[in-house]
């Protein structure tokens, strides 16, 4: 089949070249209109259901909201696991589906089940809704507004009614999370003293308020001629009108709402707050849709914002259009990668010209780069994949290799054409080109498949790692395969056209080759003469290199230089928004003193509609930097951490946005030891968790023992005195209603102001909401019209409650985690298990689960090893098919440690750590070096078996010399193409590829030495070509 392709390409070279040109033009067009993203979608298939449950405590939310939702959706097809978190006023249920399910179908199934749950939830609880389907990196843009002249309520109205709708209309925007400001309401603020004076219950006021804001349709009248629509008015909803609504008549006088309450526009109780540059502000986080393209959406949003900016400026509103813009990173990365491609491409051209000393051959080889990369990109785009940093990374590291097949092909054709010209009767050019192409087919085809196959374990990685890195592997494999196709079609066609038919070929080797050949021959003679020393030195070198590996640090992703940092701080649950913002202002001031920090914005708590369960104790800061180099960005990060470390009472993390998002996506605790306690009784779970903590602490080696859902949130517990209620004729629900209305507020209608709609709400006087001790004075009216206080019918206690209640697979869970130091992990787990099971008694339905990173890692490692083994077997089979003998396969496996050593040295020299990217580097490296070995060994075989030369030192030198240009060229081209990325890799766009590039360059150096100097010596002594005569494997 391959020979047919090559023959077709030589024969119909015109068609092939025309197709290639067409492909290039189409590719350039497609790429120019393609979108760009940072990362591929790395989140698991999740549907997050959010239910606002205003006023309900964590325990109430769990029982009344979370449990019914969990019951409704558990059992859905494809549901992998179900987790939930119930906090004060909010339920978040996260349903994670299997990776092979359709996210939209999952959402539909969930929505169908939820439709029946909504009706059964208690009054006042919002309908459970799946949060908008957002992209993994979520944030498209963070912007903000601030004003000295406009109050926060007006500003928030402007954001909610003018800015947000315009942004939401942009295609690709999933949602806008708005933090801070004050949401305007028409509030009826109750004055308890006045309620007492007029002997009114809170409920009576509420009913009157409800009637104040009713709007009803009125039908129509129709006569023989016309139809008249009836429109009723009078249900006015202005503050002054609402204030006049009569609650009741008493002694001939009307009691109006204004007699017992203040009616005015006021802010609703906050769930979040924000600040920009240390001043109160509104921060808007624009969330991208699932699969939306960050760069395109950013640009579209900015177009909309440009128009708004003018309007805002006129209203004396400061507009911050650039608090965080992930697209900056994409643009900078793209610029850096483009530069790298240009510099790398130039290096490739220089090397090709130096080695081939012929512009035409250099052109033919170099053309393989754009052709292969563009073809791969087209395939990806046609598969519906956005280009992102990982895809570009895959194409970037393939840059040096896609040219290799073409080089090998061109160089061989070029050499054979020159040799043909020297023959007495030259063969037809088409035959020479065809034969020369087929001669190297083995190394080209097998090596390409080997390179592709070693990448397969990467594609089978699960979880975030798999989702992040498989696009890199896929794009790399595609580039390699398309380069193979180019080498089999376009290269022979162009060679035939440019070198054969019209070319003037020099008689001698290119000057550089002529210069290298004698030196190389000398080296070969030397190494062949001292095989023991050569092999000994090789083994020593490999052992030393491998010994270094355990000392290298490892991490998932390298530090990304996004020009932006996300800092988040967590204080004790129960910390007020006021305190969080106050602390934030202090931190902001310190951050802004750090050189290079451009802007700092902060938000605390959470936004409506977001899937976050952060309380008022949690703050996140967007620290945007001036354009800085990687090193300078690191300095800023160090300074940020230094400031944060000095600040008391806060847990913190400072990371780049993408690392932060990846961290958030990883589910489960990252501690090595995790003990999950399942059960129904929260009190029991708490007691047992305490016991587990004590056991853990007493075991040698345990550090950082932590309970994950501890009590500690200040709670005011109101316990009704039922005997008092009976004697006073009060029903419990009346008390609960009164408390809810007073402290959470109750929406009783809508107030229309133009096209803006505001809630009308009844709530207690804001001054009284600040004092916990005033709760007991809440007035209540008995059935006999007697006014009593809450303290008369209830005991009010301040207790430490839960901030959250966690569920896993619909079961209550309490988790205890710890680290282990200076002790064998296995032993520790064994002792912990046996002591917990022996010393703690669990009631029916409660049980412990021992898990954690340490246990999971072992399981994961087994999977990874299994996949690698399968791929390794595949690679060995391919090598065997390429070289024909097990002995050669074994010799070629020497490549593995040798290339590894070079890579390890490169890691050491660049001071990098091992990351998933490093693994990709090693995998690539192995593929390339194996190809060079195949090329060398198959050529020896060709000389011995086809040209019937005796296997001696001269044949060895001839074979090696003839393969020297290809091997050296491919190695140099690959290394030099990578060089711009490897140097100064700590910069945007190069962080992930940089370590790979360094490893590839290091490994290329060591493996090229092996291939060119040591492998021939080993082959000379252990090749055993004399024994291979009867081998059925034939070379072309």
């Amino acid at each position: 089949m391959l020979s047919a392709i090559v023959r077709f390409s030589v024969r119909y070279y015109g068609i092939v070249i025309a197709m290639a040109i067409l492909l290039l033009i189409y590719g350039v067009y497609r790429l120019s209109s393609a979108g760009l993203d940072i990362f591929p979608e790395f989140s698991p298939k999740q549907v997050i259901i959010q239910t606002e449950s205003p006023g309900y405590s964590a325990e109430q939310v769990e029982v009344l909201v979370t449990q019914p939702i969990e019951s409704a959706i558990s059992g859905l097809i494809g549901l992998e696991y179900l987790r939930s978190e119930s906090i004060q006023g909010l339920s978040i249920v996260t349903a994670t589906f299997e990776e092979n399910t359709d996210i939209y179908l999952n959402r539909q199934l969930v929505t169908e089940r939820l439709s029946s749950v909504g009706a059964s939830l208690p009054e006042g609880i919002a309908t459970p809704v799946p949060v908008p389907l957002a992209s993994s990196s979520a944030t498209i843009l963070t912007i903000g507004v601030r004003s000295d002249s406009m109050d926060m309520m007006e500003l928030r109205s402007l954001v909610d009614w003018t800015i947000t709708p315009q942004i939401l209309s942009v295609s690709g925007v999933a949602d806008v999370n708005v933090f801070g400001g004050e949401i305007k309401q028409l509030q009826i603020q109750l004055k308890p003293e006045k309620l007492r004076r007029y002997r009114l219950s809170i409920d009576e006021v509420l009913n009157a308020a409800r009637q104040a804001s009713a709007i009803k349709g009125a039908g129509f009248i129709e006569n023989d001629n016309q139809r008249f629509t009836i429109q009723t008015s009078g249900g006015d909803t202005k503050a002054e009108d609402v204030a006049k609504v009569i609650i009741k008549r008493q002694n001939g006088n009307s009691i109006q709402l204004s007699d017992v309450a203040e009616v005015l526009m006021a802010p609703e109780p906050r769930i979040g707050a924000a600040a920009i540059m240390g001043k109160p502000a509104i921060v808007m986080m624009i969330i991208g849709q699932y699969g939306a393209n960050t760069l395109n959406v950013s640009n579209s949003v900015e177009d909309v914002l440009k128009d708004l900016e003018v309007v805002l400026d006129k209203q004396d509103i400061e507009f911050y259009s650039h608090l965080f813009r992930p697209a900056d990173y994409i643009e900078r990365s793209l610029k850096n990668i483009t530069e790298h491609l240009l510099v790398g491409g130039t290096f490739v051209l220089i090397i090709l010209f130096l080695f081939l000393f012929n512009i035409r051959t250099a052109f033919i080889s170099a053309l393989a780069i754009p052709l292969s990369l563009i073809s791969a990109a087209i395939v990806l785009l046609q598969s519906g994949v956005n280009l992102n940093i990982m895809v570009l990374g895959g194409l970037g590291i393939a840059l040096g290799e896609v040219v290799d097949d073409a080089i090998i092909d061109t160089e061989n054709i070029y050499r054979r054409l020159r040799e043909n010209r020297l023959l007495a009767v030259p063969k037809p050019i088409s035959e020479v080109v065809y034969k020369a192409s087929m001669e190297v087919r083995g190394s080209v085809v097998y090596a390409s498949f080997i390179v592709a196959l070693v990448f397969v374990p990467l594609l089978t990685l699960g979880g975030v790692a798999g989702r992040l890195f498989s696009p890199l592997g896929v794009s790399y494999i595609l580039a390699i395969l398309t380069s193979l196709l180019v080498a089999l079609t376009v290269t022979p066609a162009l060679c035939y056209l440019l070198l054969g038919r019209n070319g003037k070929l020099p008689e001698n080797d290119p000057p550089l080759i002529r210069l290298i050949h004698p030196v190389y021959a000398g080296f070969l003679r030397l190494t062949a003469r001292i095989p023991t020393f050569t092999i000994g030195a090789t083994l020593l070198f490999c052992t030393a290199g491998i010994a270094i590996i355990p000392s290298l640090g490892a991490r998932f992703l390298p530090e990304l230089r996004e020009g932006h940092y996300i800092v988040h701080t967590t204080a004790m649950p129960g910390t007020s928004l006021e305190q969080s913002i106050r602390a934030g202002n202090k931190l902001t001031k310190e951050f802004l003193n750090i050189s290079g920090v451009r802007s700092v914005s902060q938000w605390s708590g959470r936004a409506e509609r977001s899937a976050d369960t952060y309380g008022s104790h949690y703050s996140e800061y967007e620290v945007d930097l001036d354009p800085l180099s990687g090193g300078e960005q690191q300095k800023v990060l160090d300074s940020l951490r230094k400031v944060l470390k000095q600040f008391p009472g806060l847990l913190f993390e400072a990371n780049t946005f993408l690392i932060e998002r990846v961290d958030e996506t990883i589910s489960g605790y990252t501690s090595p030891i995790v003990v999950n306690l399942y059960g129904n009784n929260l009190g029991f779970l708490d007691r047992k968790a305490q016991a587990v903590m004590e056991i853990m602490r007493s075991i040698e080696g345990a550090t950082d023992v932590q309970m994950r859902s501890p009590n500690g949130t200040p709670v005011l517990q109101v316990r009704l005195k039922h005997d008092r209620l009976n004697s006073l004729g009060l029903r419990p629900v009346e008390i609960l209603n009164a408390i809810q209305i007073a402290y959470e507020g109750k929406v009783v209608g809508k107030s229309y102001q133009g096209n803006r709609v505001y809630d009308i709400s009844v709530i207690i006087d804001p001054e009284l909401r600040n004092k916990p001790e005033d709760l007991e004075k809440l007035p209540l009216k008995t059935a006999d019209g007697l006014m009593v206080s809450l303290s008369d019918v209830a005991n009010i206690l301040q207790v430490d409650g839960r901030y959250n209640i966690l569920h896993q697979d619909a079961q209550r869970i309490q988790t205890i985690t710890c680290n282990v130091q200076n002790r064998d992990m296995g032993e520790f787990i064994k002792e912990l298990k046996s002591r917990i099971l022996n010393e703690i008694e669990f009631e029916a339905g409660a049980y412990p689960e021992f898990t954690g990173a340490a246990i999971e890692q072992a399981r994961a490692r087994e999977d990874l090893i299994l996949h690698s083994l399968v791929a390794a077997i595949g690679v060995l089979i391919l090598i065997y098919m390429a070289v024909g003998r097990v002995r050669y396969v074994m010799i070629m496996l020497l490549n593995l440690p040798f290339s590894l050593v070079g890579g390890v040295i490169a890691v050491l020299l660049t001071g990098a750590t091992l990351s998933v990217g490093s693994m990709v580097g090693f995998v690539t490296l192995f593929g390339i070096t194996v190809r060079n070995s195949i090329m060398l060994i198959s050529h020896y075989r060709y000389l011995v078996e086809e040209e019937k030369q005796p296997w001696n030192i001269e044949t060895l030198i001839q074979g090696s010399k003839e393969r020297l240009p290809s091997i050296l060229m491919t190695a140099l081209v690959t290394a030099l193409a990578m060089l711009p990325i490897a140097i100064d890799s700590d910069n945007p766009g190069r962080e992930i590829m940089g370590p790979m590039a360094a490893i590839i360059i290091g490994g290329m150096a060591s493996s090229t030495i092996l291939n060119l100097l040591i492998l021939p010596s080993i082959m000379f002594h252990f090749g055993g070509f004399g024994l291979a005569k009867n081998n059925p494997s034939r070379l072309p």
């Binding site: 944060l644 500690g712 004092k771």
Partner: protein, 383 residues
């Protein structure tokens, strides 16, 4: 055979690439869960950081807050947080010295300026009844005299008929009856007034029962609108201390500008709204109008209590009770429980807990609590 193997391998590769592309485009067909592999990377990263902080530069997402040395130490058996002045200043934690202040032991009450027009009506009724009585008595006296004269004349066979005598007697008897009725009316008015307004006010309005003249200076002040009448309602289950002669009242809940109101007498009814005991007081009428609601302060004992006024912002609730952070040493702050407090306009008045000039944290106490209980802060991003 070899060709078949080659074809199979090619197929395997093609399938692998296909799977990859599908996975990439968000619809994966097979996946091996290796999330934890990530954790392995992360954990090794964390461990590196623990071992060598200088490596931070090369590692990134370490648990940065885990390596902060604890600022909590034990002071006199209690946990205390050590923070230097610079950190205090940077984090916005403010302290203030306490001053010992003296407060009377008071309880709050509510009051209302009472319309005493109904009392005046009673007084008018009473006075009219009294006048009527006098008139009736005069008429009785005259009719008695007429009867006596006619009876004597009739007995002496003067020209007086029996009928005339009987008519005079009937006239006299009628006046007697009217006198009794008038007296009863006066008694009734007095009783009603006492029932409604209490003994003291009824005496002020109607005079004493025995007819002794009572000084009506206070009543005159009420009549002249120099004073107003106030009904003060005490909290339920609380009685006015015996020695109380005055309370403080104000139209706003501001104790500092409150004025004195002088006790008149206990009122006769309990407040139906609050079930509290009620008393009548009088106070200067300046800016007081009938129906105005007032806040009152009743001195429970005349002993002056000494303690400190603590602003509400310094109070932290934890573990079921309120606490205040106190500077126990230079740069060392410890939590102190607050057992007995009373609300005042300045916050809380606390006895026997703090000393003169002791420094307490008046802003940022929650940060100190957070630092002290750092181990209890849930790591939000670790789940």
């Amino acid at each position: 055979m070899k060709k078949i193997i080659k074809i199979i391998l090619l197929l395997v590769l093609v399938i692998a690439v296909f799977i990859g592309v599908r996975q990439f485009s968000g619809d994966q067909r097979f996946v091996v869960t290796l999330d934890q592999w990530l954790d392995q990377f992360q954990e090794s990263d964390v461990n590196n950081d623990d071992d060598n902080l200088d490596d931070e530069k090369n590692n990134g997402s370490e648990e940065e807050d885990d390596d902060i040395p604890s600022r909590v130490e034990i002071h006199e058996g209690l946990p205390a947080v050590r923070l230097n002045e610079e950190v205090m200043d940077r984090s916005g934690i403010l302290t203030s010295s306490l001053q010992v202040v003296s407060h009377l032991n008071e309880v709050r009450a509510t009051g209302i300026v009472v319309d005493f027009q109904p009392l005046l009506v009673k007084r008018t009724e009473f006075q009219k009844a009294k006048t009527d009585l006098v008139l009736i008595e005069e008429s009785l006296q005259a009719s008695t005299k007429v009867y006596e004269r006619l009876r004597v004349l009739h007995k002496e066979h003067a020209n007086i008929s029996l009928r005339q005598v009987e008519e005079a007697r009937l006239q006299m008897t009628e006046y007697k009856a009217r006198k009794i009725a008038a007296k009863q009316l006066i008694k009734n008015i007095r009783t009603e007034t006492m029932q409604e307004w209490g003994r003291e006010l009824s005496i002020w309005a109607l005079g004493r029962e025995d007819g002794k003249k009572e000084s009506s200076t206070y009543f005159d002040r009420l009549l002249n609108k120099q004073d107003v009448l106030i009904l003060v309602t005490l909290p339920s289950d609380f009685l006015l201390p015996e020695a109380t002669s005055f309370v403080y009242v104000n139209t706003h809940p501001d104790r500092s500008t409150a004025r004195k109101a002088y006790l008149i007498s206990p009122a006769t009814k309990t407040d139906p709204l609050t079930q509290g005991v009620t008393y009548y007081f009088r106070t200067s009428a300046e800016n007081m109008r009938t129906g105005l609601f007032l806040t009152g302060w009743v001195i429970v004992s005349n002993e002056v209590e000494t303690g400190v006024d603590v602003p509400l912002a310094s109070v932290i609730w934890y573990g079921g009770q309120p606490w205040v952070y106190v500077q126990v040493e230079k740069e060392l702050y410890s939590r102190r429980p607050v057992a007995n407090y009373r609300e005042t306009d300045f916050g809380w008045f606390i006895k026997n807990t703090f000393k003169q000039d002791e420094k307490i944290v008046i802003r940022g106490g929650q940060l100190l609590l957070s630092e002290e209980l750092r181990w209890q802060i849930p790591d939000e991003d670790d789940d």
